[in-house]
Every structure is written in structure tokens, then in C-alpha cells.
């Protein structure tokens, strides 16, 4: 298959179209806007639904409605817009309908800026909205991975009747890279006997997130938790790079993972035994595998474009059995591989750094 040059936002949009996305609802926000723009053109050409909502609140509730009707549906946004969507996301999860949300993160908090950041990690992996829930969170590092994970997101959403998110950032959204777009046959979707398709000739379906009285809601919660356990058992994904003989392992995801990979290659050239552990599913987080990896190494260096959010999961995974260092940049500042390499060097040569 021929490779073509695409921008991240457009590649994700085209991947969603090929995955059979039937309806897109969104509201423009940099650095994600090209995704919506691409959809506005292509979805209409294909006779599918594109609608620019009046706000992110509206967009996520349109997604909710289309999902209830059984459509393959998505929205995309960037950090402040993702915050606005939390109520709708909580409703979608409680209603157990499939949907995909792309978050091309920017610097925060507040309106922040439009540079790449990973400050939404807590919000995305720990629930985000009200109530007891988590959603699957997929973290691409390259545009090819962004395409593959977008397609996967739709299938996982169907499989678990839940919401699946892509945790991307302004770098993934804006860079251009050669990618291969898979040709997909009409997607195989599971039966949807629950969908609201008109009750003529059958019992009526009710989709709701309102369960008055204690016991019915407890039952829903227990079912949601059961699904989450199933997800934790089946869907953990990660990538490993140069872990053989590694004494210092960098833990990083998304754009940070990519920067770390270059830094590790350079560290190896200097004779420093460094490696990379890169979670691909941020939820479910690869606790067990990271724990295993940490058993054979001396130091972990967590690198994120935030103040240290995944860091907490790394502490949990390893139960602090080894020194865990952290390097992070906030507010949309993206460090170069040389800056990450300097952190690795500090750990490798204690006389140069604090340790």
C-alpha cells in the first residue's frame, strides 16, 4: 500500500471515516480544528452526518443521541472542550452506548494555550466526570499509531458498549508524516438489540442514565465495574524499546514517548544502558507489565508533558521498590531529546546530578 503524507488531525479523521464512522458532531478548537474541517468536507461527500454544534456540550449530547440510535459516532476536541464534555461522557458511560472521543490536548489549566501538553491525564484516565467510571484511553505516538488506534477505538467501543478516548496532543495533531491508510471492508459491528431504532413489532428499548431508588443504580454500577474488570483483563497494551540489559528505564507515552525514544537511542550510543516502557493504553494502565520490567532495572525515569500525573500510576505499579525520578514540562513547553538525555545522564552518573 502506498504511503501518503498527512497531518495528524486529518489522518485521525480519515481513519475514523474508514472505520465506518457514520456521524460526527464537534466544535472547533485549536489544535484539533483540522479534524473537524476534514470531517466537514469528507462526511458530506460520503453522505454521512457532519454537524458543527454550538458548543462542546451540545456536540457530546448529539454523540449521545446518535449512539443511542446505534450509529457509529465520534467527536473530537481539545482540553477545555474535553472538560465541557464531562457531563455527557458520564451519561454515555452510564447508558452503556458506544462512542469515540478524540482529545488533542493543549496547554492548561484554563484556556491555557494551543501548544502540545499532557495535562489531561488524570481527567482522562481516572474518570473525569461524576460517578464511578473509567473509559478506555489510547495513546498514540506516531500518526500511523494514531490511525490504527482510532480504528481500534471504534471496535472497542462496540465490544464493551462504552466510550473510548484517544489521548493525543497538539504535536500529534499538527505534525505531518507518511502514513498508510488501511482499506477497510464495511465494519463488522456486533448486533445492537438495545438500540433505539423504532419499537414497531418489538418490546420498547429504554436507554437512560437516571435510576431513581438505590438498588437499580447499584446494579448498573456493578455491571459497569464488571465490564471494567473485563477491559483490564483483555485490553492492556504497551510498547517496549531497548529494554534488553537496561538499567534506567524511561516511562513515557504519546509525544513524550517519542522524544524519550530518541533520547534513549542517544544514551545507548553513549554507553548508558537505557530503555523505554511506553504504555499505549493509559486506561487500563499496564501495571503488571511495568512492575515486571521494573524488577530487572535500577532506576525509572517518568517523563511527561505535565507536573507528574502518570507518575502516580508508576508509583502504584512498582510500589516504590526502586528510585523513581521525574522529568516534566508544563504549559505547552516541549523539551528536546537532548534535555531528556541530560536527565538520563544525571541518573547514570551520580556525581553529575543529585543522586
Amino acid at each position: 500500500m502506498a504511503k501518503i503524507l498527512m497531518k495528524g488531525n486529518e489522518a485521525i479523521a480519515e481513519a475514523a471515516i474508514r472505520a465506518g464512522c457514520q456521524a460526527y458532531f464537534g466544535y472547533p478548537i485549536t489544535p484539533q480544528t483540522e479534524l473537524l474541517e476534514y470531517m466537514s468536507r469528507r462526511m458530506v461527500e460520503l453522505g454521512r452526518v457532519f454537524l458543527q454544534a454550538e458548543s462542546e456540550l451540545s456536540a457530546i449530547n448529539m454523540v449521545y443521541g446518535a449512539a443511542c440510535a446505534g450509529a457509529r459516532v465520534m467527536t473530537s476536541t481539545s482540553s477545555p472542550g474535553f472538560s465541557l464534555m464531562q457531563e455527557g461522557i458520564s451519561y454515555i458511560v452510564c447508558s452503556e452506548v458506544p462512542a469515540v472521543v478524540i482529545n488533542v490536548m493543549r496547554g492548561g489549566p484554563g484556556l491555557g494555550n494551543i501548544q502540545p501538553a499532557q495535562g489531561d491525564y488524570f481527567q482522562m484516565t481516572k474518570g473525569g466526570g461524576h460517578g464511578d467510571y473509567n473509559v478506555i484511553v489510547l495513546a498514540p505516538t506516531t500518526l500511523q499509531e494514531a490511525i490504527d488506534l482510532t480504528i481500534l477505538a471504534f471496535d472497542l467501543a462496540d465490544k464493551y458498549r462504552s466510550l473510548v478516548t484517544i489521548i493525543a496532543d497538539g504535536m500529534i495533531g499538527q505534525i505531518m508524516e507518511p502514513v498508510e491508510l488501511p482499506e477497510i471492508e464495511p465494519p463488522q459491528r456486533p448486533e445492537q438489540p438495545w438500540a433505539l431504532t423504532g419499537a414497531k413489532g418489538r418490546e420498547k428499548n429504554i436507554i437512560t442514565s437516571l435510576y431513581l431508588g438505590g438498588l437499580p443504580l447499584e446494579k448498573v454500577n456493578l455491571r459497569l465495574q464488571e465490564t471494567l474488570e473485563e477491559i483490564k483483563g483483555n485490553e492492556v497494551r504497551y510498547a517496549e524499546y531497548m529494554l534488553e540489559g537496561a538499567e534506567i528505564v524511561v516511562v513515557a507515552y504519546g509525544t513524550a514517548g517519542r522524544i524519550a525514544q530518541t533520547a534513549i537511542k542517544e544514551a545507548r550510543e553513549e554507553g548508558i544502558p537505557a530503555g523505554l516502557f511506553r504504555p499505549i493504553t493509559m486506561f487500563p494502565f499496564p501495571y503488571d507489565r511495568l512492575d515486571e520490567v521494573a524488577k530487572g532495572v535500577e532506576h525509572l525515569l517518568v517523563f511527561e508533558l505535565n507536573a507528574g500525573q502518570m507518575l502516580e500510576d508508576v508509583h502504584l505499579a512498582t510500589r516504590d521498590r526502586l528510585p523513581i525520578h521525574f522529568y516534566g514540562k508544563m504549559g505547552g513547553v516541549v523539551p528536546s531529546p537532548a534535555e531528556v538525555l541530560a536527565e538520563i545522564e544525571k541518573i547514570a552518573s551520580p556525581q553529575r546530578g543529585e543522586r
Binding site: K7, T30, P31, T33, N113, I114, Q174, I175, M176
Partner: protein, 73 residues
């Protein structure tokens, strides 16, 4: 040396600064204002008319935002 100039489609620019790194005369800079998307676009600062229209900035631009004009081609 040929005389040239460039035209930057500001609203296509994402301020990645690649063009500023390749100009042999250091004529391409990041502007102080913002474009419609909120990025600071690149801009040509060439009061002495040094631009030769060599096209390096346009070739490296990932978003095809730069058009190059060269005299007498």
C-alpha cells in the same frame, strides 16, 4: 544573484519555525502577531532585498504555506 521574495499564507502556518532554520540569510522570522488559529506565523524580514527566491523555506514548510517569487526566471 537572482532577486526574490516570498508570500506566506499566514492562516495555514502553525508556527513550527522550520522555515526560520533554513533561510541562508536568516530572513524568515516568527511574527509578533497571531493568526486566526492562534499561532504566531512566520514572516519575511528583508529590508535590504537579500532574498534570492532559493525556495528552501517553501520546500521545508510541512503545510505548504509559502509561495516563492523569483525575478526573471
Amino acid at each position: 544573484m537572482a532577486k526574490g521574495t516570498i508570500l506566506i499564507d499566514e492562516d495555514r502556518c502553525k508556527g513550527c519555525e522550520l522555515c526560520t532554520t533554513v533561510c541562508p540569510f536568516g530572513l524568515v522570522h516568527i511574527a509578533n502577531h497571531f493568526n486566526a488559529k492562534g499561532y504566531r506565523p512566520s514572516t519575511l524580514v528583508d529590508p535590504e532585498g537579500k532574498c534570492t527566491g532559493c525556495t528552501l523555506c517553501a520546500r521545508i514548510c510541512p503545510d505548504v504555506a509559502i509561495t516563492v517569487y523569483r525575478e526573471g526566471v
